[in-house]
């Protein structure tokens, strides 16, 4: 199996207060620590589990800044074989379609593949789109929100979690793209020995010119979406104090809940 896994570096927004910077279009990320996107971490583990079971290679791909190298090498330390990081200021990374184009070009440049794994969504942008768009760009089938993978001959059997706890089982012919859900496995920790070995593995850094992608295919100017504004909604809280005897209070409360569609 020749597997690619796409990973993204995201801020840990649970840690510090989220603030929008002066442009009104970017989050002020100076207080955050960054790490691999949660779902991508599961995708890395799944790729390595597949490699361990079926042999083959795992190549890590990341569109992101130099600071992402630590996270990329961590994936190599866990068992990835080599990595490519794409960095080019001309890429409009807020548009999932542009990102998918860049990732597709990177994968195509590396020749054939069997499987591409991505996280099902990124913790910062919540588009849930890159993996699916990537399948389209590569011209291969996909399955999204996958929570179980079994590699068969020439195809994979996957489980998808649907609304209301329903499960769907699909067979998808290879090559294919799967977007991986958190919880599908238990991501391992990179042992120190792996961490040291990872320093010696190949990590290529490429730009648009290396990939043969024209700027206007992936630039902000050519994107069909435009980011208008980001803001933190003001918190509002209204409290209504219900007066009266306990029974009356309960009655009024019940009415209100029914009326509000909460019961």
């Amino acid at each position: 199996m020749k597997t690619f896994v796409c990973i993204k570096r995201v801020p840990d927004t649970s840690e510090a207060e989220v603030k929008v910077d002066a442009t009104g279009k970017e989050v002020d990320s100076s207080r955050f620590s960054f790490d691999i996107n949660d779902a991508d971490n599961y995708a890395v583990e799944e790729a390595i589990l597949i490699k361990e079971a079926k042999e083959g290679t795992v190549q890590v791909i990341c569109l992101g800044p130099k600071d992402a190298d630590v996270m990329i090498r961590m994936a190599l330390a866990k068992g990835g074989d080599s990595a490519i990081r794409v960095e080019d200021p001309r890429i409009f990374a807020k548009d999932p379609l542009q990102v998918a184009k860049v990732l597709a070009a990177t994968i195509k440049q590396e020749g054939d593949f069997d499987l591409v794994l991505t996280g099902c969504m990124s913790a910062d942008n919540w588009n849930m789109a890159v993996g699916v768009a990537l399948a389209e760009e590569l011209g291969v089938p996909h399955a999204a929100m996958v929570n179980k993978v079994e590699v068969l001959d020439g195809k994979v059997k996957v489980n998808r979690e649907l609304e209301g706890g329903l499960s769907e089982v699909l067979e998808v012919s290879l090559p294919a793209v799967l977007t991986i859900q958190t919880g599908i496995n238990e991501p391992r920790y990179a042992p120190i020995r792996g961490i040291r070995a990872a320093q010696k593995k190949e990590l290529k850094v490429l730009g648009l010119d290396d990939l043969g992608v024209a700027e206007d295919e992936v630039s902000e100017a050519n994107s069909l979406i435009e980011l208008m504004q980001m803001y933190v909604p003001e918190l509002e809280s209204k409290a209504e104090i219900i007066e009266g005897e306990p029974e009356e209070k309960a009655e009024i409360m019940a009415q209100k809940l029914v009326k509000g569609g909460l019961l």
Binding site: A16, I192, I195, A198, Q199
Partner: protein, 593 residues
């Protein structure tokens, strides 16, 4: 980097360069990855099991150590050849910091990887290393270190345990009792000491299941309730002669060298735990509402948060500076072949003063941090339902084990004077030169560069140290040993010089590597720390001089002291409010902006 190695203790008599100190901002990719992995491991695996650990549920700590072993976290200081990771001392510090968030686990980990394993790494012969180290690295075997006895605590050489060669000549027969031994109840390997033929103090490697070795019930302790602390009893214990560690009669070399590293690592544990307490306290202060607002908003709480942050910053700065010193020295050595361990031990011995300083400063800083942590939590800080109560109890032992802080305070001037006598550092010359300098007017030229005032004050702190120490040595000569109060103050001064200078050098290095904006927090924390350190030199200086000198000499010296400790006060409140605000926004300790 200058190529010449910096001598241990030299910081007291010479100026250090920012380029020569290692700082957390110098971590390479491997360091950052080890940091991230070890932190994740503790947050995911250890902290959620705190209650089980504290209840001493069977197997919890031992299994966690094994999991840590699989990741290489127990083998950082062990050569690759014996199943270890052959990591540098910076990695040792990083792992120790991160694995110390729970005190009980930290102690089990520390006793195993530090004082338990290192004697074999550094002083074991080929066979001993091959036999024991792979299991200790993987966590399949747990180590303990049994030096303390009922009548031999600080006075470790007063060891009563005896060893006699058996008639067949194949065994030493050990008799005696060791007390307060960490990991005792689950240790497979115990490094211990006994006097052969009543005189030759010797180290032994004892298998936990050797005949004649028994472990008493658990000690009932104030804190570290999840760690094992028991007496180890030797009753005609049969120890094979090949388990003598290092040379017969040279046990003290093992014992004292191991403590240097133990002290340095204990400092790292306190730093890791200190940052964790701060993060919890900040989180709590932001959530707890009193008087219709988060208590975080109150100036007195901001002051506490800032003080805690400053101490964390200083701890980190001195620890990684020391780690860098040791690493530079070790990488200058040829560490191939049999004698390598001893060379490493001697190398670390070079920085015995710095190791003791780290131990004292960090254990006292963490005690302060845990105490203020309780205070920020108010009544909840006193309740076992919240984390501060345990942090407060767990912190206390750090001032006692690995050499009490009193013993470590005595080590600092004693080592310094020994180095001066041997001509290893030019202490006497520096003291003489100071006499001349003090005659000159002291108005340094300030060019307005950031932190230059602090730099100048730190140099003055060194001068006070030299003035006081020089006078004391002149006056008492050898008999200074009996003047413990003076020796203690000399140590206090040396500690604060190293602390303040490490803080200053790190801030300066951030300015050099990045810019003043990135260094803003580091600069403000350094300014606060120095502003609060200098008056102590005034106080301590007066105290010691008043005990030693009289009349005109005293007056002259006090006037010199006044000049050396004079400085323009800065607005501490404004700076501390800023520091607290930054910690609140990040909800944790951080430095680099």
């Amino acid at each position: 980097m200058s190529n010449e190695l910096i001598k241990g203790g030299a910081f007291l008599i010479s100026q250090s360069n920012a380029e020569d100190v290692f700082t957390p901002e110098d971590f390479d990719q491997t360091h950052k990855m080890i940091d991230s992995m070890s932190r994740d491991f503790v947050h995911d695996k250890v902290l959620p099991r705190t209650d089980e650990i504290e209840a001493m549920e069977e197997g919890v700590i031992v299994n966690l150590l094994k999991e840590a072993g699989e990741l290489g976290l127990l083998g950082v200081d062990i050569p690759e050849k014996y199943g270890g990771e052959d990591g540098d001392k910076i990695s040792t510090l990083i792992v120790t910091e991160n694995l110390s968030l729970n005190g009980s686990f930290a102690t089990a980990f520390g006793a195993h990887t530090g004082i338990g394993t290192l004697p074999i790494v550094l002083f074991g012969n080929e066979e001993q290393k091959a036999k024991y180290l792979p299991g200790l690295a993987s966590g399949e075997k747990i180590a303990a270190y049994a030096l303390t006895e009922p009548e031999a605590g600080s006075d470790a050489l007063n060891c009563k345990t005896r060893a006699m060669l058996s008639e067949c000549g194949n065994y030493y027969i050990l008799n005696g009792a060791k007390q307060y031994i960490t990991n005792a109840s689950w240790a497979h390997v115990i490094v211990t000491y006994a006097k052969i033929d009543n005189e030759k103090f010797t180290a032994f490697i004892v298998d936990g299941d050797s005949p004649g070795v028994s472990i008493d019930p658990e000690e009932k302790k104030m804190g570290l309730k999840g760690s094992s602390t028991c007496s180890v009893i030797f009753e005609d214990a049969k120890i094979p002669v090949e388990n003598v560690l290092w040379e017969i009669g040279k046990g003290h070399q093992v014992a004292f060298n191991i403590l240097n590293i133990g002290r340095f690592k204990l400092g790292a544990g306190c730093a890791g735990a200190g940052k964790y307490v701060l993060a919890n306290a900040v989180d709590y202060a932001l959530q707890r509402q009193q008087f219709k607002m988060p208590i975080a908003k109150f100036g007195l709480i901001k002051g506490k948060v800032a003080d805690m942050a400053i101490l964390n910053y200083v701890m980190e700065s001195m620890l990684y500076r020391t780690g860098g010193l040791i690493e530079d020295l070790l990488s200058s050595l040829d560490l191939e072949g049999e004698g390598a361990g001893k060379k490493i031990a001697d190398g670390i011995q070079e920085y015995a003063i710095e190791c003791s300083i780290n131990k004292i400063f960090c254990s006292e800083a963490f005690d302060f941090i845990a105490d203020e942590g309780v205070q920020i939590y108010g009544g909840y800080g006193y309740s076992m339902e919240y984390p501060m109560e345990r942090a407060y109890r767990d912190s206390r032992i750090n001032r006692i084990f690995e050499g009490t802080n009193e013993i470590n305070r005595l080590i600092i001037p004693a080592t310094l004077m020994r180095k001066a006598m041997k001509g290893e550092i030019a202490l006497i010359q520096a003291a003489q030169k100071l006499q001349e300098d003090l005659m000159m007017p002291m108005m340094p030229e300030l060019s307005g560069e950031v932190l230059e005032e602090q730099e100048n004050l730190i140099e003055n702190m060194k001068k006070v140290f030299l003035m006081v120490s020089g006078t004391a040595v002149q006056k008492f000569g050898e008999a200074i040993q009996k003047e413990q109060e003076i020796l203690g103050r000399m140590a206090d001064m040396a500690i604060l010089v190293f602390a303040a200078e490490s803080a200053y050098l790190r801030a300066k290095k951030i300015v050099q590597q990045k810019d003043e904006t990135a260094a803003e927090l580091a600069i403000k924390m350094t300014e606060c720390f120095v502003a609060e350190a200098v008056p102590k030199f005034d106080l301590w200086g007066k105290e010691v001089l008043a005990a030693m000198e009289e009349g005109d000499t005293r007056r002259t010296m006090l006037s010199a002291l006044r000049k050396l400790t004079r400085f323009e006060p800065i607005n501490l409140y404004e700076r501390k409010r800023y520091i607290a605000k930054e910690m609140y926004e990040a909800k944790k300790y951080f430095v680099l902006k």
